[in-house]
Amino acid sequence: MTDITATMARCEPHMPGEPGIWIFIMGDMLVFALFFSVFAFYRGEQPALFSASQATLNTGLGLTNTLLLLTSSWFVVEAVKAVRRGSGKLSCRLFFLAFLCGLAFSGIKLVEYNEKIAAGITLTSNDFFMFYYIFTGLHFVHVIIGLVMLVFVMLTLARPATGEQKVRFVEVGASYWHMVDVLWIVLFPLIYLVK
């Protein structure tokens, strides 16, 4: 009996980070779901325009960005595991690798925008490109905020003090980064791929 009780005690649910960050994540995902619905609605009204505009997108860059974010999320997963084990230094290095992926994502994003703007395609060119710029742009703002959060996480890990609060903060940052990744995973097929 005591064995079962002990096991059950160990199995108590653990909420990564703190409740507040999940309010933010759920809320933000709700808003993006609204954005995606609006996109789908407008796409239904003008399928030919949207398909034609979509064909001019650089899917290669988009795919590269997707792979970068997925890789960065993997680094973050390993980093959180490391911090839970107590390996602060390894965790910091893994977060740094995730940060580099995020930085590369940002660079490629800028190249992609530049390519379009140079071709004369801007946010008022047509409805498809309005959504393209605004949604990927808003996502980009989230990525930049995420990069800042990763820096704070790395700074926290660099400090010698350990403790549960530190792990929680790391989890908050990691959860936010995963959200940024999830948003892109929906955004990318919706805007670049779905015909």
């Binding site: 507040g20 808003v31 609006v38 946010l123 008022t124 309005m130 605004i134 808003l138």
Partner: protein, 214 residues
């Protein structure tokens, strides 16, 4: 404040939903001529409502000050940003009042007053965003043993900040979801503000009740 603004803006002036940005001088001038009295009274209600918003902002700053101690940088930031938000809303109210004051003016002038009013009403996202970030930062930085506000209120503030951003794009569009009457530039910030306001009232009341006397 909520009651006054709702009556003034929504019922009397009939500005919810907003007039179309794609309308020209004739339509807009027509709108002001047809509903001149409603708009005039509605604007007076809104001015009164704004008066009530000021102590609310001050109260938030006082609570932030409790959370952060000295120097009260975040409290001042919130106070300033909140004050700007109040001032910013007064400009559109006065432009609409001016348009309704002499509705037989040149329609192009009335169109311009209307444009200015609607653009100012939601496009300046910076004060609202800064206000919310200051609020969130203060709550997360609260090191007192008895938390003055629950931490989730901070995250809710950060979320709200994001929701005010799309309205900044309304200057590009006369139609669509990002125009000043659009889903994402009008309705989203409006709903966001409503949620924020009510959650803050709850959090403030709770903070005041738990405040030690003296």
């Amino acid at each position: 404040m909520g009651v006054l603004v709702t009556i003034g803006w929504w019922l009397l002036a009939r500005f919810v939903p907003p007039p179309l940005p794609s309308w020209g001088g004739q339509e807009i001038a027509g709108m002001f001529a047809a509903n001149a009295t409603g708009i005039r009274v509605g604007m007076i209600f809104m001015i009164a409502g704004m008066g009530f918003f000021m102590p609310f902002i001050a109260l938030i700053s006082a609570q932030i000050h409790r959370m952060e101690g000295s120097p009260p940088v975040l409290a001042y930031t919130q106070l300033l940003a909140g004050a700007m938000s109040v001032a910013i809303v007064l400009f559109p109210v006065m432009f609409w009042a001016t348009a309704a004051f002499r509705p037989d003016r040149d329609p192009q002038l009335i169109l311009m007053l209307n444009d200015m009013a609607w653009l100012i009403s939601a496009m300046p996202f910076a004060p609202a965003v800064v206000q919310n970030i200051a609020m969130g930062a203060a709550i997360l930085g609260d090191k007192s043993p008895a938390r003055i506000m629950p931490r989730w209120v901070a995250y809710m503030n950060f979320w709200m900040a994001v929701l005010f951003l799309p309205a900044g794009l309304m200057v590009f569009f006369k139609t669509g979801p990002f125009a000043w009457n659009g889903l994402l530039s009008f309705w989203l910030p409006l709903v966001a503000f409503g949620i924020w306001f009510n959650v803050m009232i709850y959090a403030l009341l709770r903070a005041i009740q738990q405040q030690p006397d003296g």
